[in-house]
Symmetry: C2
């Protein structure tokens, strides 16, 4: 998280936000909290009023000062058209968008700018890597972008002041600006966001006609793999359409691996477990997965190395989890990370508490003295 | 969790466990804690000694009483052979196994039993739906099976006393016994366990050659989808080989959906976003995923309905998460569930605390009064 500049309001001009959904309203909340004047526009008067009511900004009036920065936060399939309209209507302003695809939008904006003699140099596409499962201004938060990457797309011919304005927007809201080309961005999100979304959806799609008895055996693995499958079909269709070529490339890589795997499974099914190449085909897919998951950066990827997990059985009764944390606080051990595991029809949960290795023994002993059941390591 | 019978030791005979890994040692620990005499066997003297040292049972001696129940807990590719050997060596005992595939093992055991005139009625295959990311007796726990489904396979010709003995084993260890046919089990685990494992591995496999910049944009979605991709290739090759036909069927369903999706993406890439059928093809996959994920039972599936989530920003500094939980305990609100979200290079985490809806407002207000930053809902 960057330090909040002390004089943001004095150095940033009025900001106009077009599209008062989750992202637009969250940007408005964050800027308003810093004292920056924000006006809100949305095709839906209801959405606009809701965003105003949660404190994301004011409804525009004729006498307002002209905006110096315009943020277009509408679905990707209508972004280019609105960016062009804003460039046209506000000749002095920098315009950015926050859509999750970039090349298609830039191409369309460039086409419209050439056709209508608009100054394309004032447009810089961007993409904050932040979101929630819920949408709309009601779910908005000034903290949505804190600590998250905020991609700013680079290309020739951009006005450096436009680039700076969008960079300031990202850092003012606590984001971490990262510069890359539109194509580089689209390929990256195809891989780390769009592909996992589709793999989760394809996996969950297989459950639609599954027998209840099969679903009763579901564990944490299935829950993790399919969690993001609960996403909005309309929004995702627009995202995937806008990044179709890059998504298709990665998905084709999956299909090639999948075909190899099916070949190995079929050899094993027909010729038995020792069929030539069957084991190697399966082990190869699992091993490649080991290598790939090890490359994901961040706390979770490194947790097993940095922290020791202490697993505690927690009765599924009100207050028990709270009591556990209160007592860990009393014991004086810092919780570095935490996860909860549940299974079907159980009356206990497993609380997995990650602590620094030096604290693990103290925590285990102290919790057992207090009557908790600690799962032996 | 079933109530622990008060006289288990008196009513259960000696149990012999073959295979002193995670599952075998966990079963030994659980039975030993109930006072049941347990002996341990393993092809590796080191593994056997480790299991004994963690308290999972005793090393066998010639003067030991004959076992009444034998639990075979070895990798799936050697299970049948060892089950047959145990049926042969211990003519009075019930034999079960805990391998994660069932039809192939039953067919092989039946073949060996017919060849060697063994009493197949004394064998009942089973599968406790429990595991950990770590393996070996060092990771064993008497509580591993508490509240988890424990599949017991049904077929004609089984001795009812054998069925009862395996059922008692499951309930003595806190498991929830579920009876189904071997084919029904194999199809169920192919869908809820083996398929998600492969989808996670295939997704993670795409990351092996990804640019660092792309991995830097990874968020919680990618982490969730790929978490189980960190599994053991040798064990998983044996599992997949032993369930090749059922896994292949579900994976072929995925490939059909994937081909439809690729067709839609390619139409959008070539003919633009409004290509005939492109949007419908993509939205259909996402919608089916919505329907499938909604069918997964358990706490996590129902959480959004039962609980309200309160999201709190937690500085990434030692003690902060512990302090949060201590203060929630002081406020007197029960934590029903909890998850932590992290992103790249951030200096704060988002602690998502699930509470009953009636407590959410109190918790938010009280936390804010204490200086915590609560993300507005």
């Amino acid at each position: 998280m960057s330090e909040e500049p002390s004089n943001v309001a004095a150095t940033r001009g009025p900001v106009r936000i077009v599209g008062a959904g989750l992202l637009g309203a969250s940007i408005g909340l964050g800027l308003s909290a810093l004292g920056v004047p924000v006006t809100l526009a949305d095709a839906s008067p209801t959405a606009r009023a809701l965003a105003r009511d949660v404190g994301a900004g004011a409804i525009e009036h004729a006498e307002d000062a002209a905006p110096t920065l315009i943020v277009v936060a509408v679905p990707p399939d209508v972004t280019a058209e609105i960016v062009a309209a804003e460039l046209r209507a506000h000749p002095g302003a920098v315009v950015t968008d926050v859509a999750s695809v970039k090349s298609v939008i830039l191409a369309e904006v460039a086409h419209l700018a050439a056709r209508d003699s608009l100054d394309l140099g004032r447009y810089v596409g961007s993409h904050p890597m932040a979101g929630r499962e819920r949408s709309g201004a009601g779910a908005a938060s000034a903290d949505l972008f804190v600590g998250r990457p905020w991609v700013i797309t680079l290309r020739e011919g951009v006005d450096p002041r436009a680039l700076l304005a969008v960079r300031n927007l990202a850092t003012d809201l606590g984001g971490v600006p990262l510069q890359m080309s539109p194509a580089e961005h689209d390929d990256a999100v195809a891989l780390v966001s769009h592909l996992p979304q589709l793999m989760a959806s394809l996996t969950a799609g297989r459950l639609v006609e599954a027998p209840e008895t099969a679903l009763g055996l579901a564990g944490q693995g299935l829950r993790d793999v399919t969690r993001v499958a609960a996403s909005d079909p309309r929004l995702w269709s627009a995202i995937l359409t806008g990044n179709a070529a890059a998504v298709s490339t990665h998905l084709r890589g999956v299909r090639d691996d999948l075909d190899g795997l099916l070949g190995a499974l079929d050899r094993a099914a027909v010729d038995g477990p020792l069929a030539l190449g069957a084991i190697a085909g399966m082990a190869g897919v699992i091993s490649a997965g080991n290598d790939g998951v090890a490359r994901i950066p961040g706390k979770h990827g490194g947790r097993r190395k940095r922290y020791t997990e202490v697993t505690v059985l927690v009765p599924d009764e009100p207050g028990e989890l709270g009591r556990l944390f209160t007592e860990i606080g009393e014991i004086g051990v810092n919780i570095e990370d935490f996860q909860m595991e549940h299974a079907t029809r159980q009356r206990v949960g497993m609380a997995i508490v990650s602590v620094i290795p030096a604290s693990a023994q103290t925590l285990e002993t102290s919790l057992e003295e207090r009557g908790w059941r600690v799962v032996a390591q």
